[in-house]
């Protein structure tokens, strides 16, 4: 998100889901779309099989989408910047760039040119493992299409170079003029139903709702007026990973966690648990008991989605109304009521009477949400922000004619290898992800028997050649060890993975793969490198 904000001025999917139906070329990088965004994937598959659209997949794994790809760039984990620079190198060399777009709509192109010049096909092949022909083919298909969309997900962001990876995607789109038009753009597929909404509402350390900086005195003034207070802080707060570290150092004394299960979902889980135990006060608000509530001093039982009214903002910036189906179960309360109550008892009375009243306030203080009113949501399938007033139809694609920040900013990036490359002691790369039948740490989905049947337990996927070398087969137990922890998992062999790479999911708290992952973070977005750490594996 920080990457796109830097390049374009707005950190969100530039285009909308519907536009996948019209694109000529899709460049999918770091997204197992059929598993995690199946409806977007089915649009891509339909486009490829029914109207000859072309698909470029860049992924170290043989994901299902790769079967439909005109070219599959099987780059090494964490080599995204080198790969993207390599594609841009070829595009510039062949003169496939959009000169007019670069001139009229972007700045800092010369810097990009200088850096990209160093990424010759030979060098890129060496770093990424992708052959020259595939690089050229990928570059040509993407650059020479009229309407080409880039889609990415956590395979791009969950690296120490997450922001660099995103910026490189943005560079590629600007270089070829594939942004600011329908069925183009740079499209982060968000990993949760409302992660866009949470960011939009300012659940970030540096902004109020609608990305209004806390460091901007005018913004602060506006919120002080609305909330009838003075002296709102102008200091940027901490991100989740920083809070955990600060708790371990004893600098953060109290933590109030809502709907998160960091003991399972955050990297280096033993370190997370250790840090949380050091807190003077841990408050956890959730709908079910979790590994994190076990450490809490106070648990606030919250109501589920069915027991409350509100809005979700999905990956395409579409704000949709969610209606209350049933009354909250006995002993639980809706999140906003809990927050009002806590605030009131802490000395600032919050007197909202309904979710609608809260949305009214959002409309007043958030320019991009100003026209997304309750009445309009009630009678529609939702509205895409920015929607600055009540008559505005919403914005399916961003940066038409002008980027949010004015000119699009090229920002050249150099390749940096993953924080913990494999070595003699830990010769495998562990990469983590999700599958469609479970959601995150499983606190909800693992209570559903049929999902449990489909995806019952944690497994370690590996290439059959690696399995042969380790003298294990499907179902054998192995000990997998990193510098941070050890776990015993059954093996499942699959040709989808290259040799030297193993994969597992973080859905199973009793076999928590995040005890192994590394808490190396992207310096800007502070996202941990879930996609790569070094491990050793032995038969037991």
């Amino acid at each position: 998100m920080a990457g796109l904000a830097a390049a374009f001025g707005s950190g969100a999917m530039t285009n909308s889901v519907q536009e996948f139906e019209e694109a000529e070329v899709f460049f999918v990088i770091g997204s197992n779309t059929t598993e995690q965004h199946p409806l977007i994937a089915s649009r891509i598959i339909r486009a490829v099989t029914q109207r000859d659209a072309k698909l470029i997949v860049a992924d170290p794994r043989d994901i299902k989408l790769a079967r439909f790809a005109a070219v599959h760039l099987k780059h090494r984990i964490g080599s995204d910047v080198a790969l993207l620079n390599g594609l841009m190198h070829i595009i510039l060399k062949e003169g496939w760039e959009d000169k007019q777009f670069i001139k009229a709509r972007t700045e800092n192109f010369e810097q990009l040119k200088t850096v990209v010049a160093k990424y010759t096909p030979d060098r890129v092949t060496e770093i990424t493992g992708v052959d020259r022909d595939s690089l050229r083919k990928g570059a040509e298909i993407y650059a020479r299409a009229k309407k080409a969309m880039i889609a990415y997900a956590m395979g791009i962001t969950q690296h120490i170079t997450g922001t660099d990876n995103v910026i490189s995607c943005a560079n590629l789109a600007m270089l070829t003029g594939h942004v600011g038009y329908p069925s183009t753009g740079v499209n982060p597929l968000r990993g949760q139903n409302n992660v866009q909404g949470a960011c939009d509402m300012g659940a970030l350390p540096n902004v109020y709702s609608g990305y209004q900086p806390v460091t901007d005195p005018e913004c602060r003034q506006k919120f002080e007026n609305e909330w009838n207070v003075t002296g709102l802080s102008d200091k940027i707060g901490l991100t989740v990973t920083e809070m955990i570290d600060a708790a371990e150092r004893g600098e953060v004394k109290a933590l109030y966690i809502m709907g998160e299960n960091p003991v399972v979902s955050d990297p280096d889980a033993n370190h997370v648990a250790r840090a949380l135990r050091k807190l003077d006060l841990l408050v956890v608000q959730d709908i079910f008991p979790t590994e994190t509530t076990k450490l809490a001093h106070v648990i606030l039982p919250a109501a589920s989605f069915a027991e409350k009214m509100g809005t979700y903002t999905n990956t395409e910036r579409r704000v949709q109304l969610s209606r209350q189906a049933i009354e909250p179960l006995e002993g639980t309360e809706q999140d906003w009521k809990i927050i009002c109550e806590i605030s009131s008892r802490a000395g600032y009375p919050m007197n909202y009477h309904s979710a609608v009243e809260i949305l009214d306030e959002i409309n007043r203080v958030t320019p991009s949400y100003a026209g997304i009113t309750h009445d309009r949501l009630e009678n529609s399938w939702g509205l895409c922000w920015p929607c600055p007033n009540k008559d505005h139809p919403g914005t399916p694609f961003l940066h038409k004619a002008r980027f949010t920040r004015g000119l699009g900013l090229f920002h050249a990036k150099e390749y940096i290898p993953p924080a913990e490359p494999p070595d003699e002691e830990y010769p495998f790369t562990l990469t983590t992800g999700r599958m469609s039948f479970q959601f995150h740490t499983g606190t909800m989905t693992r209570r559903i028997p049929i999902l449990g049947r489909e995806a019952p337990k944690a497994i370690l996927e590996m290439n059959p050649r690696d399995a042969r070398r380790l003298r294990v087969r499907d179902g054998s137990m192995v000990a997998i060890e990193s510098r941070r922890g050890e776990l015993h998992l059954p093996v499942m062999t699959t040709l989808d993975l290259p040799e030297g790479v193993v994969f597992s999911t973080f859905h199973y708290s009793e076999k928590n793969i995040n005890e192994l992952t590394i808490c190396a973070i992207d310096p800007v977005a502070k996202i941990p490198e879930f996609k790569s750490c070094a491990v050793s594996i032995r038969r037991i």
């Binding site: 994937a41 099989t49 028997p449 049929i450």
Partner: protein, 334 residues
């Protein structure tokens, strides 16, 4: 033959609701037409095609079937009397199909049959297909029924013309809300039937599709191409009026356990996975093939009747365009 004024439907249902649980198609927030207990939504008189068929009354999405305690194991049977108003001929045909399945070889499903025996069915024939995905005629069903219902109504404008198909139906006709009909009503019913037969133009070609399957025409590549689009959500199975596969699981409850069953889908990998881990249908294409072979091939062998009644719900529900209509279309191209 008797008449039921449309204005009298709701008062009639309200009276019936005193002695049995009445279900009828109702609108929820003006968007979804759902067959649900009277009063839970808004009855507007337009019956249309409900999202999920009357299957949901006889075979709910999830139900408790057994309770376990250390000292006692007991079956849980719900035999609430129900009256289902406004179901379509295709749905009734699906119920007849399911009845046969649930009692096949004298293996009787007690949970289903307890509800079925206490269910009164009031079918409303279709003058016109309620949606453009209806293809009952092509599927060998009809927009109206000749038998197998308690009461069948024909829409004659301001009123329904009612015919009884069972003793229970005759009993209902004795209710004072039903008025004596006139001689011409018989002719009117024939006209409505004719209109119904002539107004349905959706003919995907089920018979030819059945032949293609009989002759084993589709190969792996055929199914693979279709299955590539399938996102394995199971929606087609859940909305199908003749799909009744279920999963069984136990949940703790007050010192014991309750065994539940809930809808399952043959498109999920775990459906056929064996304890060893071996899966006889390991791929999405083999599961998709199996589902449609079941409807259009094995059901014909077993019951001399296809398992698809042509309601088109799977085509309505599928987010990637892979319902029965699309499968039949593809089979026709072989």
């Amino acid at each position: 033959m008797k008449r039921l004024k449309k204005d009298h439907v709701l008062p009639f249902l309200k009276v019936m609701n005193k002695t049995e649980q009445v279900y009828c198609p109702q609108w929820v927030e003006g968007r979804d037409l759902i067959l649900m207990p009277l009063g839970e939504g808004e009855y507007r008189g337009d019956l249309g095609k409900t999202t999920i068929s009357a299957k949901t009354v006889l075979f709910p999405q999830a139900e408790a079937i057994t309770s376990f305690r250390t000292d006692k194991i007991s079956k849980i049977i719900d035999s609430t009397g129900t009256l289902v108003f406004g179901i379509r001929a295709c749905e009734m045909k699906a119920i007849q199909f399911t009845d046969r399945f649930m009692t096949r070889d004298n293996l009787i499903d007690p949970h289903y049959m307890a509800r079925r025996e206490k269910m009164t069915t009031i079918v409303v024939a279709c003058n016109k297909p309620p949606s453009n995905t209806c293809f009952c005629i092509d599927a060998g069903a009809m927009p109206y029924l000749e038998s197998g219902y308690d009461l069948q109504l024909f829409d004659a404008g301001d009123y329904y013309i009612a015919t009884a198909g069972s003793a229970r139906g005759e009993e209902l006709l004795a209710n004072s809300y039903f008025e004596e009909g006139v001689q011409e009503d018989r002719g009117k019913v024939e006209d409505i039937k004719k209109e119904a037969l002539n107004s349905q133009h959706n003919r995907p070609g089920v018979e030819r599709a059945i032949d293609a399957l009989k002759e084993d025409k589709p190969d792996e590549a055929f199914w693979e191409e279709l299955a590539d689009k399938c996102i394995n959500c199971g929606g087609c199975v859940y909305v199908c009026p003749t799909c009744t596969c279920f999963n069984v699981y136990d949940l703790p409850s007050q010192g014991g356990y309750i065994r539940y069953r809930s809808w399952d889908a043959c498109l999920h990998a775990g459906f056929t996975r064996e304890t060893s881990g071996h899966n006889p249908r390991p791929t999405q294409w083999s599961r998709l093939a199996r589902r449609h072979e079941h409807k259009f091939k094995f059901d014909i062998i077993n019951y001399n009747e296809s398992g698809c009644v042509g309601c088109g719900r799977c085509s309505d529900a599928c987010p990637v365009g892979l319902g029965a209509i699309e499968i039949v279309n593809a089979l026709n191209k072989l």
